[in-house]
């Protein structure tokens, strides 16, 4: 009985955990409930992914109202993969929060952090699993509101401003999305995503559909921080508590990428997006600017957290580059990178959080000679940094490999060269860390000898190990991404 209910429970358990955490209030119990709920979701997501891989898509009618009238939860090869990423990241970050957040958030507010974290997880999982365009908006709002709060909990007072900035831009993004959905509802009379896709080709008047496409594109691009709509991201990631930066960078933008892909290929369809409109060309141009400019900006940052935040903007550029290719290899690369970058950036932010806690900040002054003070942390950042560059043997290499193959298959040699060339900028900013940590003498701001607490180091190293593991064994990531790409290209009407 429970197995059939997993599509609902994967979202409902963290959702119900949030008020429960508020009711119990005690930090220890709050932490235990939140972590258990995330772990349950991860377990459920893995079971769902296995079931989908074996038996095909699952449809779940919420409240037993049959779709397209009721809300449908639909799990297929693509969103099962996203569910695994989101719930997995939550399960790794939740125990990390035990020490990290306790140091950054006031003790009487700790239970509110755990409750909000559960809400954010539930919102992101809901966005991924739902098959209803309006339900997706509701979950988008749950996840966004929760993330504004989580960012504002940062120790630095600038976190408040960063959260406010994100609130304004995020709200505009969500509003644009819902306007787009409204237009689609107007012309198709349905909110169910699959039903919408089936009815859209019969719509005689193209203009509202094009307007809907524009609104959805801009709205979701704000959420996923596509250049030039990325201004909220660097501040939000830099000033949020470390656990929050790690979780959001690993999941929030990735789920938005999923939504964009779902709408482009699952609703509007390839002919409209590729042939009627020059969307691939627009995405390619924006992605290239994002990669080059954000990587260059990252080079000049004086704070490691901000550096990695700008690098996130660049890495999202690689994902949208893959989407812009609109080919099987390109989409595979986009979906693989969505996962690999989530794991890599999660590891980096968790490790930087450890440094920030010991040194009181992640400025380059406090990184001098870090390899001697915190050898495991420095090694972890270096290894995850290699994955960020895309060195063979790391997860990052796999994504870049498929991007390059996709570019070559499309006959765009210059694009392949560009992907390789921009990786060199990544070498530049990762080298800045290596130089400070390994080659410089410890300065006055360097933390005293001693690692971060094992509760923080273990989850971070788990993700570093995952960076390396998914660089060697690509059977899970690439197979899932291939299936997702096939689904997106074949599922389009």
């Amino acid at each position: 009985m429970i197995a059939g209910q997993l599509p609902a429970l994967v979202v409902v358990v963290p959702l119900a955990a949030a008020p429960l955490v508020v009711l119990v209030r005690r930090p220890v119990a709050a932490f235990a409930i939140a972590t258990a709920a995330c772990a349950f979701s991860f377990f459920a997501a893995l079971l769902l992914a296995a079931e989908v891989a074996g038996a095909g898509p699952i449809s779940y009618a919420l409240g037993s109202w049959p779709p397209p009238w009721g809300i449908e939860y639909r799990v297929d090869a693509f969103n099962a993969f996203v569910l695994v990423l989101v719930s997995g990241a939550a399960t790794v970050v939740a125990p990390y929060g035990w020490r990290a957040v306790a140091a950054e958030v006031r003790r009487d507010q700790l239970y509110l952090y755990h409750a909000t974290f559960c809400l954010c997880v539930a919102g992101l999982l809901g966005m991924a699993i739902t098959g209803d365009a309006f339900n997706l908006f509701v979950f988008m709002e749950i996840a966004s509101l929760a993330s504004y709060i989580l960012i504002a909990l940062g120790r630095d007072r600038r976190a408040l401003l960063a959260a406010y900035q994100y609130l304004i831009l995020g709200t505009i993004g969500a509003t644009f999305y819902v306007i787009g959905v409204g237009l689609l509802y107007l012309v198709t009379g349905t909110l169910n995503i699959a039903d919408m896709a089936a009815r859209l080709p019969a719509v005689p008047d193209l203009r509202p559909v094009l307007a809907a496409l524009a609104f959805v594109t801009v709205g979701v691009s704000l959420k996923l921080a596509l250049f030039p709509l990325h201004f909220w991201l660097p501040n939000a990631y830099a000033y949020a508590p470390s656990a929050v930066s790690a979780f959001l960078s690993a999941t929030a933008t990735k789920v938005s990428v999923y939504v964009l892909l779902r709408f482009y290929f699952g609703v509007f369809g390839l002919p409209l997006v590729v042939e009627t409109l020059p969307m691939p060309q627009i995405l390619l141009a924006l992605s290239i600017v994002a990669i080059v400019s954000a990587s260059l900006v990252a080079l000049w940052q004086t704070d490691l957290k901000r550096l990695f935040a700008y690098s996130s903007v660049a890495q999202i550029g690689y994902i949208t580059l893959g989407i812009g290719m609109a080919s099987r290899e390109g989409l595979t690369a986009a979906v693989v990178h969505l996962f690999n970058h989530g794991v890599t950036k999660g590891a980096l932010f968790l490790l930087v959080g450890g440094v920030a806690l010991r040194a009181g900040g992640a400025g380059f002054a406090s990184l001098r000679g870090l390899a001697r003070a915190m050898p495991l942390t420095a090694l972890g950042i270096t290894l995850a940094g290699l994955s960020l560059i895309g060195v063979p043997g790391t997860a990052g290499f796999v994504s870049k490999w498929y991007l390059v193959i996709g570019a070559i298959e499309a006959g765009r040699w210059w694009l392949a060269a560009l992907v390789v060339a921009t990786s060199l900028i990544a070498v530049g900013y990762v080298w800045r860390f290596v130089e400070a940590a390994y080659l410089a003498e410890p300065g006055p701001a360097t933390p005293a000898r001693g690692e971060a607490s094992p509760v923080m180091l273990a989850p971070a190293w788990l993700l570093v190990a995952a960076c390396l593991w998914f660089g060697f064994d690509t059977s899970f990531t690439v197979t899932s991404a291939r299936r997702a790409a096939a689904l997106l290209l074949g599922g389009a009407p």
């Binding site: 008020p19 409240g63 037993s64």
Partner: protein
């Protein structure tokens, strides 16, 4: 305080009716316009009115902060709990059909508790926001 005599007496007369009207809107939601959200807002407005006339400390004594915060969480939990009850009784999540022997009665029962959850959370959130804003200004004045 004597200048507020009229207001105080009017408030004392009105507040019970406001609370009553909240309950009316709550239960009438089954048959016509109304429901948990509106009822929650009206109920909270009665307390806000009380606080405006008799002062924030009096309102905080009547509905203390911990109660308000519990209400915020309890309503959501009640809503989610009704959904999970559907699962426990062999239906899907938020399945009201299985809540009673007769499916229509089940729908009735399900929406009743869900709306109760909505009302509790909405009035809790309204009061929480009011307390935070009102308390903030008070703290500033005391600081001066």
């Amino acid at each position: 305080m004597t200048r507020l005599l009229v207001l105080r007496i009017v408030a004392k007369i009105l507040i019970p009716f406001m609370l009553m009207f909240a309950l009316y809107v709550q239960f009438h939601g089954d048959f016509g316009p109304g429901g948990g959200f509106q009822a929650g807002v009206i109920g909270a407005a009665a307390i806000v009115f009380y606080a405006l006339i008799f002062g924030l400390p009096a309102a905080r004594r009547m509905v203390p902060e911990p109660v308000v915060e519990t209400m915020v969480a309890l309503g959501v939990f009640l809503y989610a709990g009704v959904g999970l009850l559907g699962v426990a009784l062999g239906g899907n999540y938020l399945d009201y059909f299985v809540l009673a022997a007769d499916p229509v009665a089940g729908q009735h029962r399900g929406i009743f508790w869900v709306e109760a959850g909505v009302a509790i959370t909405v009035s809790g959130v309204m009061l929480k926001i009011f307390y935070m804003f009102a308390g903030r200004r008070r703290d500033l004045e005391e600081g001066r």
